[in-house]
Amino acid sequence: MADPREAAIVGIGQTEFSKNSGRPELQLACEAILAALDDAGLSPADVDGMTTFTLDNNEDVDLVRALGIENLRFSSRVPHGGGGSTGTLAHAMAAVSSGLANVVVAWRAMNERSEQRFGVGHTVSNASSPGTGTGFLEWSMPFGAATPAAWTALGAQRYMQEYGVSNEDLGAVSVILRQNAATNPAAWFFEKPITLADHQASRWIVEPVFRLFDCCQESDGGVAVVVTRADRARDLAQLPVRIRHATQAVPMGIETVTDFYREDLTRMESGEFAARELYERTGVGADDIQVAMLYDHFTISVYWQLEAFGFCGRGEARDYIADGHLDLAGRTPLSPNGGLIGEAYIHGMNNITEAVRQIRGTAANPVADVENVLVASGMSAAILSRS
């Protein structure tokens, strides 16, 4: 029996995922939030808390005004860009378990393809976005390192050199995610699987590390989840999904994306800290997890997180993937929705909603007998479980 103060996800909602939504980001956010509240059997009148993470252009005050919410008792914005996406669950959990709020909505809504593309490159060397955890770009811009792909590739290349991993090896991740997306009608790449040969034929984005198909999409869309306390969740419309624990991780030396300064870039120390925290708090271990929703802005991120969360040892991710353990029928299927590469890049939030669907048993690609799902996004992670 769960602690009555434990937090649970009781509603999920989303817009369509596209390359041009044709409407403002604020509208996407409102639509996704209303859908999530409707899913839960709640309305904006019930909402008294909100959270999102940095780089979302929507303000809580605008959402409160547009949705007709009387008052928020709790509002927060998690740092670290997409790395903080699962951190929204930590904030929502903290808010409802402590009584700061009763019903917290976490949202993400962006026109990240039709308006503000992340992949086009920065050319202003003093660009710095407080709260993202991304270092002052003066250290990168004068040298032509201008995109998340380039920044991430610098760590990835050291991993590949250290463990003899090729770009083709990374491609195995894309093939799995595109296969999953191919049978998920909500995915942008629905019915568009790729082969490893397709991956190898896609153009270089950062040589010799990332080709086009190593990169997540740029997407337009909105996603929202509704969190409340377990005792309240029992009376709502859906099977509550327990937030067993959610945590953030900001280890010494880390930066978000421009993560150059830790001594050993072949390991994801933020994931290692998050794993220790989650596993110790919940008693759930890697062997008890049936679905792994691992942030996949780039293919290498799956490698790093597989090792950080103990699914395999350091340097073993390539063989672990090659052995089929991430396939839908494998030991711990990877992002059955297709992840950020196959479904859409809603900055990590669409991996939280997929975790909920897997536990409810309503996913397009359902994994059998799901008790526990790991959602990990680099600098934050959570274990979600069946009630």
Partner: protein, 142 residues
């Protein structure tokens, strides 16, 4: 590889805490912070020593000899101010000191991890200089 750059690169835009570094670069020196108390080197610049919490620091000028920790060639999107074969690299210069820079005078396929490199400086115009690296031959004790 040493072709003139057709458009100006994004110039360094020093923050208050890093101005000393870029002032050094403009005189062809790589300066990093050394804690006045415990003597630890640190980079990127920060106002406090993480080991002893002293706020006093000096600068130390590094030799500019280091090793390649990682390297890439950004291909897409093309940035017109950079030559197509520009290699971006992480260079380890001393314990705790790693810089982003460019690796020059070597082809992408010939770069090896931990390859020894040395600094040189290019002109950005308007008195601004920029540090770059190129392979160096190993010397005894280097």
């Amino acid at each position: 590889m040493s072709d003139p750059i057709s458009l100006p690169r994004p110039a360094p835009f020093p923050a208050r805490v890093s101005a000393f570094f870029w002032e050094g670069v403009d005189t062809d020196e790589l300066r990093v912070q050394r804690c006045s108390d415990c003597g630890e080197l640190r980079f990127p610049p920060r106002p406090m020593c993480p080991d002893c919490h002293a706020v006093a620091w000096n600068t130390e000028t590094l030799s500019g000899e280091g090793r390649v920790y990682s390297w890439i060639r950004p291909v897409h999107p093309r940035l017109p101010m950079f030559a197509e074969d520009t290699i971006v690299a992480l260079i380890d210069l001393a314990p705790g000191v790693r810089l982003v820079s460019n690796l020059c005078d070597v082809a992408l396929e010939d770069v090896e991890k931990d390859m020894p490199v040395e600094v040189f400086f290019i002109d950005l115009g308007e008195g601004r200089r920029l540090h770059q690296f190129r392979p160096r031959s190993e010397r005894s004790g280097g």
